[in-house]
């Protein structure tokens, strides 16, 4: 499997601690992300964010070397399962930092959490199936519960007193969940709810309906290339000014380079934005841009936090990962400085955090990013946590 030996452990430093380091095996972190196909840009962000964190830590956690093993899930559940199995059995990884997509997480969840040593940390996918009764002591999430991001927009529309909203999403599970999430806090009327095929390119049919519907706003969940198409066609159809565009995972740093001016001013929900004002985030964004040449998105941020979470647990246990219960206790404390500011785990190991609306904006240097507009939820726990039997 792809070994990215992050023995960026500088030559001199290694020589100094050679006697001590030789005795110990490196800490192995397996990273499984979608790195091929149209969604590859998301997986690359996550991979780069995690590697940046490891690099900032000097390639070491708790005095031990860190080895990062990156694999591509190809967005195929069976391939993902195969490669995760290899990471667990052959590479004997201590942590698996998990995938972008829920269906990949579903495929790899059981083999990792039931393995003798590895913890599974999802740095993006946060399906409801593992938040409620299906929660697991060896599974942590550094992103969010998927519904929450959609709830932000529903709550926003409600707060703004919007009466009629048009919903648009691809016809698959995450899309249906997104619409359910939006409706949780929105009390107005849903004028229409349109489901497109996954991988949909041409939104002309839907745009015509939106234009004719008399809606106060559109809420949509159109990840990846679909979102690029939708946003640009939305502008071309002259709708941007007429029907405000609310979205989740549609306008972000992975799609803005292609959407550019067409997305300006559009609102999205998130837990973070590159302009978030705290020192650790400023350094993260600057280092990321210097290393990879693009503005980091939430995928990079969450993977970075996942690495810092792992580091906190390794430090807390003094680099001794054999006692799984002790590592779990350390992970639960989430004793690290998140790029988002406040961050702790609920009983189901999903985060309790703040949620904001963010707006697409153009920076003075010509690059595009999202920027925080207003806080919608404070210290927000997902609705499934109560059903999770774990108590600690």
């Amino acid at each position: 499997m792809k070994r990215i030996l992050l023995s960026l452990a500088l030559g001199a430093a290694t020589l100094a601690g050679v006697a001590q380091a030789q005795a110990q095996e490196p800490i192995r972190i397996g990273v499984i992300q979608t790195l091929s196909g149209p969604a590859a840009v998301l997986g690359q962000q996550a991979r780069d964010g995690l590697q940046l964190a490891v690099r900032q830590l000097g390639g070491k956690m708790g005095g031990r070397d860190v080895q990062v093993i990156v694999v591509d899930d190809e967005l195929k559940p069976d391939v993902a399962l195969q490669r995760v199995q290899a990471m667990i059995d052959r590479d004997r990884v201590d942590f698996v930092v998990g995938p972008i997509f829920s269906n990949i997480l579903q495929a790899i969840h059981a083999p990792v959490v039931n393995s003798p040593r590895a913890f599974l940390i999802s740095a993006n996918a946060g399906p409801s199936s593992y938040a409620g009764r299906g929660c697991h002591e060896n599974f942590f999430v550094t992103s969010y519960q998927n519904d929450q991001v959609h709830e932000v927009l529903g709550a926003y529309a409600q707060r703004r007193g919007m009466q009629k909203v048009f919903l648009l999403t691809p016809n698959y599970q995450a899309g249906r969940d997104a619409m359910a999430g939006f409706k949780r806090h929105f009390r107005g009327q849903i004028v229409d709810e349109v489901y497109t095929p996954l991988g949909h390119l041409d939104f002309s049919a839907e745009l015509a309906r939106i234009g004719a519907s008399g809606a106060d706003a559109l809420f949509t969940f159109m990840p990846g290339g679909m979102g690029v198409n939708l946003v640009r066609q939305y502008g071309q159809a002259g709708l941007t000014q007429r029907v405000p565009f609310l979205s989740a995972f549609t306008v972000d740093e992975s799609t803005l380079p292609a959407q550019q001016d067409a997305a300006l001013g559009m609102l999205a929900g998130m837990t973070w934005a590159p302009n978030m004002d705290n020192p650790q985030n400023k350094k993260f964004v600057a280092d990321y841009e210097a290393a990879f040449g693009s503005v980091p998105g939430s995928y990079a941020m969450q993977a970075y936090d996942a690495a810092m979470l792992i580091n906190s647990a390794v430090v807390a246990t003094g680099g001794n990962l054999t006692d799984r219960a002790a590592v779990r206790t350390a992970l639960r404390k989430a004793d690290f400085t998140s790029l988002r500011g406040r961050f702790r785990f609920a009983n189901n190991h999903y985060p309790i955090q703040d949620f904001y609306t963010v707006r697409a904006a153009k920076r003075p240097d010509g690059k595009f990013q999202t920027e925080i507009v207003e806080r919608i939820f404070e210290n927000y726990t997902d609705v499934y946590a109560a059903q999770c039997p774990m108590r600690w």
């Binding site: 091929s36 015509a208 309906r209 990846g224 290339g225 690029v228 992975s254 799609t255």
Partner: protein, 307 residues
């Protein structure tokens, strides 16, 4: 309101149909004349879009960029023909499928290495941006009208070439009986090369026209390739007329059903939530159902080219 929506959707269906036609025309000619299944045709569409993105960014002028993209798409098509395709003409269909499948893998990954995995964008030229008012509160983008217009123009041009010129005559003859054309002393290899390069350029043209509307990303041609195959099978392989009719049919059926399937199901008595679940699934399947139905009644398509 409903009738304006219908007009807009019909225009949208036409626009999709025209794009499909540009891809399907090359595919059906290559298939009909050379009896060659070219799965890599969708990749040529993708390449056209990437080249357009690159050249428009370089030159800063949309039209010069598109022209350069067309020339490069043609050159690349000819290169592929010389390096790979010509070794496969007298082979089994399956070996052609396999080889061009390998090309898809290579080129999809190749564009990612060259241009990165993130989607690219091509701005619409100022002269063609904006919208036209069709009816009260209903606007239609000029660029989409431009796609429809240029697609129809290409269709007309192709018709004239195929129906009126000597090359066109050879193409028609080749589509119905290639060995005969060869026996008559025509340099069939050169004819093949011309047809292949031209088909690649048409696909590249479709890609560059689509680039301002769709995101330019690796693998963007894969699904359109399948749609284009559906089109030429419905139309009858080797027939330009069939490709045109098939493309418009697929474009219209797909767009209209996507837009109205839920309402139709609701009218037929299904509960709104059931209609919402089933409608999109049926809409996604509609063109495949259409194709299966056409083949069931006319096993060689609507306008079979071979006698």
């Amino acid at each position: 309101m409903s009738s304006t929506l219908l007009i807009i959707q019909t225009l949208n269906g036409l626009q999709l149909g025209v794009l499909l036609f540009l891809i399907a025309a090359g595919l059906t000619l290559v298939f009909g004349v050379m009896d060659f299944i070219n799965l890599a045709h969708g990749v040529q569409y993708m390449l056209g879009a990437y080249l357009a993105a690159m050249f428009v960014a370089w030159t800063g002028n949309f039209f010069i960029g598109i022209a350069l993209a067309l020339i490069s798409a043609l050159a690349f098509g000819l290169l592929l023909e010389v390096v790979v395709m010509r070794h496969l003409y007298d082979r089994d269909h399956l070996e052609q499928v396999l080889a061009t499948f390998g090309l898809i893998l290579f080129l999809n990954e190749g564009v990612k290495i060259v241009w990165g995995a993130a989607p690219l964008q091509v701005p619409i030229p100022d002269s063609l941006s904006g919208t036209i008012r069709i009816a009260d509160g209903v606007l239609y983008p000029v660029w989409r009208l431009a796609i429809i217009g240029s697609g129809l123009a290409v269709a007309l041009g192709l018709y004239l070439i195929v129906a009126k010129t000597r090359v066109g005559m050879l193409i028609r003859a080749g589509a119905s009986n290639a060995p005969m054309v060869s026996a008559l002393g025509v340099d069939i290899r050169r004819l093949f090369m011309i047809v292949f390069g031209f088909g690649a350029m048409l696909a590249g043209f479709a890609g560059s026209m689509a680039a301002p509307v769709f995101s330019v990303e690796p693998g963007m041609g894969d699904n359109l390739l399948i749609l284009a195959f559906v089109v030429i099978v419905i139309g009858g392989i080797g027939s330009i007329r069939g490709a045109f009719v098939g493309a418009l049919l697929v474009g219209l059926v797909d767009t209209l059903l996507r837009s109205f399937s839920v309402d139709l199901l609701r009218l037929s008595g299904l509960s709104p939530s059931d209609a919402r679940t089933i409608g999109p699934a049926i809409a996604s399947m509609s063109i495949y159902i259409l194709m299966a139905a056409v083949l069931f009644f006319r096993p060689t398509g609507l306008f079979p080219a071979k006698g």
